[in-house]
């Protein structure tokens, strides 16, 4: 029996939504790249790691909330560019010839490479970014949180909103969606597939980079920090349906809240497992994911 209006319950929902919004952000990039290019990119969390380190450098230069917002913008630019570069140098040359498993191995290789490069250049010592809002806490009556956490949620929301605008309103955004639904037909419409790949990878990485700044500000920054977000992003993507952007948005929030509530009411030590348990349940009932289309439709 769950006491629905109890304040601990609402506190946990809030905690889950905030963490979940960051999961969503990182998962959207993964699901877009999968949708358009059918690549399971295991280096997605490492884009987040690079974004987080970008923030470390920007915030060493300009502190406070201004530096923080600046680092979100800088991370978007740096990691977006990194996405474009890795797509061109690593993934595209192999796309037409190699199998899916090969591509997974290549992305795992990229992930190991980025991890090791980060350890080489930045060292293994974890870092934390000081709270750009000076640790102000906000009491919402039934639940409380910090201004920083609210801003992270808000930034994730804004970024997702901008992405939705891009995908639904812009010519290139619609072309990305079209390509993920039928690559051949998209080609026949005169859509430059390579350009779509480039932009998808750039945008996907950019989202992971912004997510990485938020994740790094909420948690800690170290070379292997990308592994956990990658895992969560895969879980979210499977939950929401592979290649489905809306699915990734809702999937992230659902996973965040399920972990928080499951941890609180079932068992903390199984907090991580609860998320995966839900995924197994969803896959049993609806194998294409909560928001996925039926196969072969």
């Amino acid at each position: 029996m769950v006491p629905v209006m109890d304040s601990l319950f609402l506190q946990q929902v809030l905690n889950g939504l905030i963490t979940g919004s960051v999961y969503s952000l990182i998962a959207i990039g993964l699901t877009m790249i999968f949708g358009v290019m059918k690549i399971s990119n295991f280096a997605q969390g490492d884009y987040s790691m690079v974004g987080a380190y970008t923030a470390v450098f920007v915030m060493a230069w300009v502190g406070g909330w201004l530096g923080w917002i600046g680092s979100v913008v800088a991370a978007a630019a740096v990691v977006g560019l990194l996405g474009v570069v890795t797509e061109r140098l690593v993934f595209r040359p192999l796309m037409t010839r190699w199998t899916d498993i090969d591509m997974i191995m290549v992305s795992i290789g990229l992930f190991i490479l980025l991890d090791n490069l980060a350890q080489l250049f930045f060292g293994a010592t974890p870092r934390m970014i000081g709270d750009p809002f000076g640790g102000v806490t906000v009491n919402l009556g039934v639940a409380s949180t910090s201004l920083l956490r609210l801003f992270c949620f808000f930034f994730a929301g804004i970024t997702i909103f901008c992405l939705e605008l891009f995908l639904n309103r812009s010519r290139m955004g619609v072309a990305i969606r079209a390509t993920s639904q039928n690559r051949f037909a998209a080609q026949l419409m005169g859509i430059d597939i390579n350009q779509v790949y480039r932009i998808t990878f750039g945008v996907g990485a950019l989202l992971a980079g912004v997510g990485g700044v938020l994740y790094g500000t909420l948690f800690a920054i170290y070379p292997t920090m990308g592994a956990l977000p990658t895992l969560k992003a895969f879980a979210v993507t499977i939950l929401g349906g592979m290649g489905n952007v809306r699915g990734a948005i809702w999937g992230g929030l659902i996973l965040g809240v399920a972990e928080a509530l499951g941890g609180n009411y079932i068992a903390m030590e199984y907090k991580q497992a609860i998320g995966f348990f839900i995924i197994i349940l969803v896959l049993l009932v609806k194998p294409s994911g909560l928001f996925g289309r039926k196969e072969g439709a």
């Binding site: 946990q12 290549v106 490479l113 490069l117 806490t137 292997t224 609180n264 030590e269």
Partner: protein, 415 residues
């Protein structure tokens, strides 16, 4: 005839492979030389504990430099082969197997993460290779009657002894909670503290676990906030402990945090800043024991080798660990080439260890555990510039500062 694209593909594959190799070499270090005294060192050199393992390694490199500067042992260079456990038992076991069977080291040292060392020491015992554990603190490691297994650091009951006494004499909490790593380190610590809490009549309101490498602790902290414990025993490693402090602030939660020790490193303070104020633990910080000439000499040598850095508990534990090993190898005599015999001789030499090192006197009990190194109770306190550092607050004869009661976040002046 290969197309342009194919050529490009081949080129990028070669380039990638080369990069992997390059990075691998940079991390792994130079290859081993022949005719040297080989010692295997296990540690989580990558992953979330990599920086602590790096501290241990820095201490060891200091000891290694000292011996090799004097021409090594028996005219041979001493060489250390590092094995990476990533703090995962399966990886650690694979690494120790490689050290013992492929690299044919005389003795295995280092070691960090209890779960890894419980497995690795068992393997060493059956392979009749001396295993001298440096940092892991679970009692299990030395209480199974394995005669090839030693430990140069205090075990968890020893780490907790001082704090238990302080709890009974000074703090006298009524409500306590446990918040710990889901590992042997966490579970063993929990058992000991739960017994101690019962003894002083404190009520245990929660046993909350988390996984190593977790980053989001808001669920657990929100629950703790609801339960309002006087003391939360937080058995965590550096990064997790720092994240917990940070998130406790974000959720406006105040309690007396007590950790095991080993979490208060320079990296920890760099991460938390003043947020970690009031947190407690037991520790063996060498820089807090400068009255001891041996410890002071270690700190000086360390700072000469690594200018601008301050040795922490892991550096000094690493230094002492390798020192003990080198001393035993030396006393066992020049290796004759029969690995089994050489290892047995070193094991026998280890039992007779009696050295004064940076952590104190090291002598092994019958079980291979050192009982002569005793940690003090420390609290994180701030100086006038809001810089955090640990101060010994207990036992009274060693105390350098007074216990401070945790204040609400709004009442704290250092942000």
């Amino acid at each position: 005839m290969p197309s342009k694209e194919e050529k490009f593909m081949k080129k990028s594959v070669i380039l990638l492979t080369a990069l992997f190799l390059l990075v691998g070499l940079a991390v792994a270090g130079p290859a081993s030389a022949a005719d040297s005294i080989k010692i295997g060192i296990l540690g989580p050199f990558t992953g979330s504990l990599a920086f602590n393992a790096g501290e241990m390694k820095k201490g060891m490199e200091l000891a290694l430099d000292e011996v090799n500067a004097k021409g090594g042992l028996f005219g041979q260079k001493v060489e250390v082969v590092y094995g990476d456990s990533e703090c995962k038992p399966d990886k650690g076991l694979a690494a120790v197997k490689k050290l013992v069977t492929r690299d044919k080291v005389l003795v295995v040292g280092g070691g960090y993460c209890s779960s890894v060392n419980i497995a690795a020491s068992e393997f060493c015992h059956y392979e009749k290779t001396p295993d001298v554990v440096a940092i892991a603190i679970s009692p299990t490691i030395t209480n199974r009657g394995y005669d090839y297994v030693f430990r140069t650091s205090p075990n968890s009951p020893m780490f907790l002894m001082g704090i238990n006494k302080w709890l009974a004499d000074v703090k006298k909490p009524k409500v306590v909670a446990f918040f710990m790593e889901n590992s042997d380190y966490g579970r063993d610590g929990q058992k000991i503290w739960e017994a101690a809490s019962k003894k002083i009549g404190a009520k245990v309101v929660a046993n909350l676990y988390f996984e190593i490498g977790d980053t989001d602790f808001t669920t657990q902290i929100s629950k703790l906030k609801e339960l309002k414990p006087d003391v939360v025993f937080n058995i965590a490693s550096t990064t997790e402990a720092a994240l917990i402090q940070k998130q406790a602030k974000e959720l406006d939660f105040v309690t007396q945090w007590i950790g095991v020790g080993g979490q208060f490193t320079q990296a920890y303070f760099k991460m938390t800043g003043p947020i970690s104020q009031y947190a407690m633990g037991s520790s063996l910080e060498p820089t807090k024991a400068m009255k001891d000439p041996v410890t002071a000499a270690f700190v000086k040598a360390y700072q000469a080798k690594y200018p601008g850095s301050r040795p922490g508990i892991f550096s000094s534990q690493g230094f002492d660990n390798l020192k003990v090993i080198l001393d035993a190898v030396k006393r066992a005599g020049k290796p004759g080439g029969d690995l089994a015999k050489d290892r047995a001789k070193i094991k026998t030499a280890l039992t007779a260890t009696d050295m004064k090192l940076s952590q104190g006197t090291i002598k092994f009990g019958k079980d291979g555990q050192v009982y002569t190194v005793l940690p003090s109770v420390v609290q994180v306190q701030l100086d006038k510039d809001c810089k955090p550092d640990t101060q010994i607050i207990y036992p009274p004869e060693r105390a350098a500062a007074k216990y401070e009661n945790p204040q609400p976040w709004s009442a704290r002046t250092c942000k």
